[in-house]
């Protein structure tokens, strides 16, 4: 009996588990590469403003003054801590997209001024 046939006969589970582990490894390697390439695109460098972000987070990731973001949202200093844009939009009764547009316009203006 060939060695492979013997292994298949006596240790089928080990062989199958090995093949499965190899397949999973390959899958995750490809996935890593795909994400790597996707996020390497300079167009995707800036994290779009989203509802889960706080005003401070927006300021941090777009490298603008925290006060600027607060001013656009009409918040007192310190009022923004720990509140997400989604909550702020809901409290003001405006759609999140509107807040995002206002913020993007203010950020673009601030960056131009630099």
């Amino acid at each position: 009996m060939s060695t492979f046939a013997r292994l298949w006969h006596e240790h089928r589970l080990v062989l199958l588990a090995f093949a499965a582990a190899l397949a999973v490894t390959l899958f995750f390697l490809v996935r890593t590469a795909v994400f790597w390439v996707y996020w390497s695109d300079p167009a995707r460098r800036d994290l779009a403003i989203e509802g889960w972000m706080t005003p401070g987070y927006v300021a941090q990731s777009w490298q603008v003054e925290r006060e600027l973001v607060g001013a656009v949202l009409g918040l007192e200093p310190g009022e923004a801590r720990g509140r997400t844009l989604g909550e702020i939009a809901a409290a003001r009764g405006v759609p999140l997209a509107e807040l995002e547009a206002e913020l993007m316009a203010a950020i673009a203006e601030a960056r131009l001024g630099e």
């Binding site: 013997r6 292994l7 080990v14 090995f18 995750f28 941090q60 720990g82």
Partner: protein, 201 residues
Amino acid sequence: MTEWLLPLVPVWGLWLVAGTTLLSCLALPVPASLVMLAAGGFAAAGDLVLWQVAAAAFAGAVLGDHAGFLVGRSAGAALLARLSRAPARAALIARAADYICARGAAAVFLSRWLFSPLGPYVNLAGGAAGMSYRRFTPPDLAGEALWVGVYTGLGFAFADRIVALGQVLGSASGALAAGAVATGLGLRLRALWRRPERPGR
């Protein structure tokens, strides 16, 4: 999952961080690495405090690991005792348990951060094999400190890139863990391959 989980990070803060690391150390499918990255990012944004985020993540992880270890010690050990009623199996199980107790510290340390998806199973196996706290806890603390430090630190440093980091690191750690399992099984197969054919077959 990111859509509903990320907005909770600044609101629930440290409790959410500690809760997700705890559950992930029990093999529950919660994105602990993404939560730690996000919490690090919120610390950079001034919504949370970095050392508190790291401490909460660390406390949750260590608690979760020891809970899994404890389950291994009680339920796992009982299961092994039952399986060991067959004498042939008993020898094999005893050998595996001895091996884990002697060499398990490195497995515990590496499965905290480098092969982190394997961590929960190492906790169960270590507990079932009768590993002592003296051998389990120090590498657990060291490994979790590294895991927590890397993810919260990266989130803090690259707050604007956390989604990208989460996806790339998540996949890479899956590849590392599966690769470690494949390597272990491959070595076992090589040993079986070289073993001469049993007589009478």
